[in-house]
Point group: C2
Chain length 428, copies 2
């Protein structure tokens, strides 16, 4: 029976039962974590081969003869650009391989636009204020970057096929101070949504008041499918085509990394953009850097080899995390069956399940879970400034804990959802 | 006989001879390079052991148990901070280990101060203009960083014991828009100068109009001695003491990297500063990065081990580059003997010899050398904006070419110096 249809007596009795269950968990002194999108240890083990692809100094030369040990090479070695072009759905010549963090590439891109503008435009920092479109729920670290520069993060709702494009179009056209949008276009963080072709086309053809509007296309999960069956994989239209067709070839900057392909802290990150943008970025990078770590680029290229190598490697990841995602679905379906007022995503890839708790309960749920030793992402984190107006969305990150720990953590989580919902119903 | 004392006839005859010599070099189709401070291939070979210190996944855990493969750890792993503390002459707890480039750490430090100010001060980008003190001759890439942010680079002369402190004191006290100074305090680029204790003390006690003045202390060559004999090594007073004693504990930021210790493109960089500054940097980094590559940090710590390990390793570098530096001295002394109007540095460490050609000839010398296949650092590069008012200073970087190539390159260089000087004398 839906909780909303229960009597106060029934709810009160059920709550006593559930709080007893929570007490039982508490007694077990749990230390479980479903907070961050970190790969589990056995996923990292998949890249053991990367430790031994460069054994001697003779191994340290790229295919064009570059000594990868020495200085030089702003855009990265050829074979690493080719690997990253697969993840970025682009041509190697449009790719710049950076350090170990795509987040840093995004941060630096915003920072340089603030300081210097985009291809000769007025520096964004010279405006009284600027605005950025933030599809929500979204990625907290994206929102933190724009916020840190004093940029006004404007939330727009995510739908099943991407951001609400009516809202995006209205905002982009309203003010030349609206300078960009954060996008995780495939298996989005946290909703697992892949933008439809129509959404991507509309983004490319967006009428913007700002001629230097930029789409930050964080394709973090481009090859991160849960299933090998192509029918169960999402497919994303590349953003560069629509931008080019609409006469806005410099509008997008794509980002990706191998943080969830090889080693999370020791991967390689890259961006891809139009030839004009790439030239601008390289000009700035020539002042700021000696170029990325070419040894690590070479390790990646030798280990992953090519598109087929990436596919085969990602299939091994999927085999490890698929049972975890399936357990999340199974638990939520069985434990929360009939209760009502909850919904959640069923992604085909990525690292998260987006859970919509009964309105007004998310913070309570996360607090309850923490009290019994289960750490969730902070409620509100998926919204700019950390404030979810519905106090509803919670990001579930199931990859890090081993399956048996995840099982317990989900039991705890479901119990907390019920307790918080009943508390809310009884408080009305 | 000094050229200045020769008759026009003698000079003309000598010039014909020298131009014939140059013609001989040209016929040999040389491709030699004394332009950049790059280690030679056999120096890079010294770090072969670094390729095999992490062989299996069991090797990838730091001494406190951190899984170096996964996300996490803004300041770097303990053992890497300890290694970099040796290079930075500081305590590990004041060290943040960054990516592969100390240049990037410097660039980011300037950028953040421009955007956000220093510990609550007015953002430097909000001034109508700001100024930066640049000891010359100095490092072109330092000057390029400040210039790229529109900062006015103010040259002050380098003396044998460091920057002309009378000039530095006058400029620093003159205007609150003077925000900092570039320093390569040990074996300076290009002059090989190590700041005297008195200079370091005066820097620490500098009276600045700006309360947020910053000394950028690029200790790039802290362990880069040419000789093992301590008597032939320079010793540098640490800047943190005088800054602390003068009541300006947050005035300095120190930088270093292993680019010229292990692998130039795949080293680790770090900064050290006061606890307050370190806290500020970490707060900013938490938005901008996932932390440095801990795998590479671990490789470095395992390979270099400790201060003694670094000393032993740097001694091997010295054995390779010392003959090159000695050849430079020998060639310049013999080839330019008696000619007059030239001087050059005789450093005990670092990567460069600073050559002062007869006034008004540096550009001509570099152009002549290029015409016969010897690439030098651009004349003027050691000055802000690339303009040396005396057209005199040339940076000689002898490490990259093998000894026999260096021998030829120096013959060419000396010949070009003579031709250019004679041309100058004849033109008067």
């Amino acid at each position: 029976m839906a909780y909303a249809d229960m009597s106060r007596e029934e709810l009160t009795a059920l709550k006593v039962e559930l709080e007893e269950e929570l007490g039982g968990y508490k007694a077990r002194d749990l230390h479980l974590n479903m907070a961050r999108g970190k790969p589990a240890s056995d996923q990292l083990d998949l890249s053991a081969g990367m430790l031994t692809v460069l054994k001697t100094m003779d191994d340290c030369f790229s295919e064009d003869g570059t000594d990868c040990r020495n200085y030089g090479g702003l855009e990265g070695i050829t074979e690493a650009r080719r690997i990253m072009a697969v993840l970025l759905d682009d041509e190697p010549e449009n790719v710049i391989v950076g350090g170990n963090s795509s987040l840093t590439l995004m941060y630096n891109s915003v920072a340089r636009y603030m300081d210097f503008g985009a291809r000769g435009s007025k520096p964004w920092g010279d405006y009284d204020y600027i605005k950025w479109i933030c599809p929500v729920p979204g990625y907290d670290r994206h929102f933190a970057i724009t916020k840190s520069f004093g940029i006004d993060n404007i939330p727009v709702p995510m739908k099943d096929d991407g951001p609400d494009m009516d809202a995006v179009e209205a905002i982009a056209a309203s003010d030349e101070r609206v300078k960009g949008i954060w996008c995780v276009p495939k298996y989005s963080n946290p909703g697992g949504v892949t933008y439809s072709d129509e959404v991507v086309e509309r983004l490319g053809h967006l009428r913007c008041a700002a001629h230097d509007f930029r789409i930050f296309w964080d394709n973090a999960y481009s090859v991160h499918h849960l299933y090998d069956d192509p029918e169960k994989q999402d497919h994303l239209l590349d953003i560069s085509g629509p931008c080019h067709d609409s006469g806005n070839p410099n509008r997008y900057v794509k980002f990706a990394s191998t943080s969830k392909v090889t080693l999370s802290g020791a991967g390689i990150a890259a961006l891809a953009s139009s030839p004009d943008n790439v030239a601008e970025f390289k000009q700035r990078m020539a002042i700021a850097t000696i170029g990325g770590d070419k040894m690590n680029q070479l390790r990646h290229a030798r280990f992953l080899k090519d598109a087929d190598g990436i596919t085969a490697h990602m299939s091994k990841h999927a085999a490890i995390i698929r049972p975890k995602f399936e357990l999340v679905q199974e638990k939520l379906e069985t434990k929360l069956a009939g209760m009502g007022a909850c919904s959640w995503s069923k992604p085909n890839g990525g690292y998260f399940v987006s859970f919509n708790a009964p309105a007004g309960t998310a913070q309570h749920i996360v607090r309850l879970a923490k009290e019994v030793g289960v750490i969730m992402t902070e409620a509100g984190a998926t919204w700019p400034n950390g404030v979810d107006p519905n106090d509803s969305n919670i990001r579930i990150a199931p990859t890090l804990p081993p399956l048996e720990e995840l099982d317990t953590a989900l039991d705890v989580f479901c119990c907390c959802v019920k307790v918080a919902y009943i508390s809310r119903l009884l408080a009305v």
